[in-house]
């Protein structure tokens, strides 16, 4: 057994961390927050050029051909630095769906374009929860009609993988028959858009079992998102700790109050628990182990909890200043929410975890 990343993998992580510290600054993220940019272009370009985001795309399709373990560590850094980039849309979801279900021609055409950043891709693979039932998507074998109501990075994506009934469909978003409208979002640093298709040209991903492919891709995304969540949670806890050492009340550092110490100790414990579940998920993902559904669901639930609590209590422990627009606390509060609901809420994933456990104990 070896339950850690290798030195080479850690070197890649360090390089990504150094780069993001320079490009994914609070100021850069706020350009997106305040609507002056659709994403953080400098950070995205660097991530692409380092080969980091296409770590898990094989070399013959223009990727770095490293693997998912590397991508997990890139994800942790993206989360840590609140990177406002279409990483999950393009690489955790769309590229993975293409790799698992695309025809050779589809892979040869699209994956190099995604890996080089020429095209941003996105995906909607189905969620167990919904509110409004939009005009359902309909695919007639050649064209797509209907609405996808909240497509991540839909404003800039040129390609989408969509689950339509029992099929996975690949639709270009740049051509005729597609219109898009940005929707206001609770985490404006990760924009969503509503996409309408009106007899837009589209093609099927030739898989016999779209549901299984979607579930497998979502499991992988759950692990990768868990790394983003752990990265973000660790960062906001560090910032909260630093503030608690600086700020004084009643003649003492607020960090010396036991109520605050114990709260931070509990948050630390929650983050470490999430981290090891994420590691376990990374192993299951990278080795295609049969434990993946259980490991991925556990990582998702633990990491969602940890980041939400770290972000909520981060504001509380900062006091009034934590409630201001200028502090980064709310960026984490928003991002924790975005990551925690993007591929379905923790409740759906907890149910999935229970399904896996009970099935195993049969």
């Amino acid at each position: 057994m070896n339950f850690d990343f290798s030195d080479d993998q850690r070197l890649l992580q360090d390089a990504v961390r150094t780069m993001l510290a320079e490009t994914s600054t609070s100021q850069a993220v706020r350009e997106v927050l305040e609507g002056r940019a659709s994403h953080c272009a400098a950070a995205w370009r660097n991530l692409i050029e380092m080969g980091a985001v296409a770590a898990a795309v094989p070399e013959q399709y223009g990727g770095a051909g490293l693997g998912h373990l590397e991508l997990c560590l890139v994800a942790e850094e993206a989360g840590r630095h609140l990177a406002a980039v279409p990483l999950s849309s393009s690489f955790y979801l769309a590229a993975e769906a293409l790799l698992r279900a695309g025809s050779e021609a589809q892979k040869r055409h699209w994956l190099p374009r995604i890996a080089s950043g020429e095209v941003v891709a996105t995906a909607a693979l189905g969620s167990r929860e919904r509110y409004r039932a939009p005009a359902p998507l309909a695919f007639d074998g050649e064209t797509l009609t209907g609405t996808s109501p909240a497509l991540a990075d839909g404003g800039i994506a040129g390609l989408a993988v969509l689950r339509v009934g029992g099929e996975l469909v690949l639709a270009g978003l740049a051509g005729a028959g597609v219109s898009r409208e940005p929707v206001p979002t609770l985490d404006p640093t990760r924009p969503l858009a509503e996409i309408r298709f009106e007899r837009a040209p589209a093609e099927r991903l030739p898989t016999a079992d779209a549901a299984a492919v979607a579930a497998r891709v979502l499991d992988g995304a759950a692990v990768l998102l868990a790394f983003e969540q752990v990265g973000g949670a660790a960062r906001i806890l560090e910032q909260t700790r630093d503030y608690a050492l600086e700020r004084k009340a009643f003649g003492r550092q607020i960090g010396s109050f036991q109520a605050l110490k114990h709260k931070m100790a509990d948050i630390y414990a929650a983050i470490e628990l999430a981290r090891v579940h994420a590691y376990y998920g990374a192993w299951a993902l990278s080795s295609d182990a049969p434990e993946l559904p259980r490991a991925a669901a556990a990582a998702r639930v633990a990491a969602t909890r940890a980041y939400v609590v770290a972000a909520e209590e981060g504001i509380e422990l900062h006091g009034g200043i934590g409630f201001t627009w200028e502090m980064d606390c709310h960026l984490h509060y928003r991002r924790a929410r975005h990551l925690g609901q993007l591929i379905g809420s923790e409740h759906a994933w907890r149910a999935r975890l229970a399904d896996a456990l009970i099935e195993e104990a049969a």
Binding site: M1, N2, F3, D4, F5, S6, L69, L237, R241, A244, L245, R252, Q253, G255, S256, Q258, L260, K261, H262, M264, A265, D266, Y268, A269, E272, L273, R275, V276, H277, Y279, Y280, A282, W283, S286, S287, A289, A297, A298, V301, A302, H347, R350, A351, L353, A354, D355, L357, I358, A361
Partner: protein, 414 residues
């Protein structure tokens, strides 16, 4: 990153399996425990016999150096042995303090001839050890011990009282924290000794626990003579010796979280029925609320297992395990309490009936529910562990205290 056994690990696992099959008894039910139906003395004798066999085969202290009677093996091998042994009927806690705390302290601090004297019989279960730190006035605040040791020629004379001493009623030796200098500040006047629990002047009185058992004791010392060569570490160096022991304790308690609690929950939920707004009764296992708690149980217990796996990886690469190890006991003990309590709730009002009448299936969770409050206290309370994490891991300020610099004698007066 790889969770599977390496070829060497797989070979060791096969060896352990073969040995256990030849020498051990497999559990016949998941909740069967060692020595059921035996009285205390017979169970102790059976436990000692098992430990002797295990030691002779080199499995009693896998990670210890060969010179000390161990196997010179790896931490991973230790874990593999424990994983395989879990399916067998083996004595649980009896040797835990000996092997997890008492003997490692002897190994670290005692003179070579004492190691030669104590380590082998301890590993073989011929002698059992206890840990005598806590006192009525010194629990979390261990530095406040008042048990007095006074030098008398080549000996020390000890007077005082310890409390909560697990296993003292069947132990042969103990590691004993005393105060030898009352003019130094509290943590600086302490000295650690080996004490013979059968020596004249040692009196052990069992304490009736909330669980109904009597696993811990009060221990009184009246003019007990301890030779100076039984001193562990320097005079007034007891605090450091104690910290080295407690670090071992926290690791070993964290490592004791059973890894199949969610499976126990699943098995019980299959036998109970729940109703909700949609009707019923249906098997509780189909209820979404029950399923959510099963998932949460897994998150906690598997999380602790994984944190330990990460620590082991660090050890196997020659690094120190990270500070995250300090959360294992905190998470594990509370998880046991929560999981056990929920298991009882599965049966509603009937869940209040003792297992003797309700059925053996419930024994395990009922016992866990009654023992878990102790797990949250022993080896450092939840609150003390949070202080440790906040201060040592997160770097937050220490507690405000007024007792650090004063000579202990003056604190006593105040």
């Amino acid at each position: 990153m790889d969770f599977r056994d390496t070829p060497e690990e797989a070979a060791f696992r096969a060896e352990v399996r073969a040995w256990l099959e030849a020498n051990g008894n497999k559990r016949s039910r998941p909740d069967e425990v060692f020595g059921e139906g035996l009285d205390d003395a017979a169970r102790l004798a059976a436990a000692k016999a098992w430990q002797a066999k295990k030691a002779a085969a080199g499995y009693a202290a896998i990670t210890w150096p060969k010179e000390a009677g161990g196997r010179g093996g790896t931490a991973m091998q230790q874990v593999i042995y424990q994983q395989e042994e879990a399916a067998y009927l083996v004595p649980g806690m009896i040797f835990e303090i000996s092997i997890g705390m008492g003997l490692p302290t002897v190994m670290t601090w005692a003179a070579p001839e004492l190691k030669a004297r104590f380590l082998r019989p301890g590993l073989a279960g011929e002698e059992i050890w206890c840990q005598l730190f806590s006192e009525p006035g010194a629990g979390s605040d261990t530095g406040g011990v008042r048990t007095r040791a006074v030098k008398d020629g080549e000996d020390w004379i000890v007077n005082g009282q310890k409390v909560w001493t697990s296993g003292a009623h069947f132990c042969d030796y103990g590691i004993l924290l005393t105060r030898t200098d009352w003019d130094k500040p509290k943590q600086e006047g302490l000295t650690m000794f080996i004490v013979d629990m059968k020596a004249p002047g040692v009196e052990v009185r069992p304490i009736h626990q909330m669980s109904g058992d009597a696993e811990f004791n009060e221990v009184f010392f009246t003019d007990v003579r301890i030779p100076d060569r039984y001193r562990l570490g320097p005079e007034c160096g007891g605090w450091k010796v104690m910290l080295s022991t407690l670090m071992q304790e926290r690791l070993s308690v964290g490592g004791n979280l059973p890894t199949d609690l969610h499976e126990h929950l699943i098995a019980l939920a299959r036998k109970c029925e729940w109703e909700d707004r949609d009707g019923g009764p249906r098997p509780a296992i189909e209820d979404a609320r029950v399923r959510a708690r099963i998932a949460d149980a897994y998150l906690q217990q598997k999380g602790v297992e994984l944190i330990i796996a990460r620590g082991l990886t660090a050890i196997s690469k020659g690094k120190a395990p990270g500070p995250e190890m300090s959360i294992t006991k905190l998470v594990a003990a509370k998880a046991m309490q929560d999981i056990a309590a929920f298991a009882l709730e599965l049966a509603g009002p009937e869940g209040l009936i003792g297992h003797q009448a309700l059925g053996g299936d419930w024994r395990y969770m009922q016992r866990l529910w009654l023992s878990s409050p102790g797990a949250r206290l022993g080896g450092g309370t939840d609150e003390i562990l949070r202080n440790v994490i906040a201060e040592r891991v997160l770097g937050l300020p220490g507690e405000i205290r007024s007792d650090r610099k004063l000579p202990f004698r003056e604190l006593e007066r105040a």
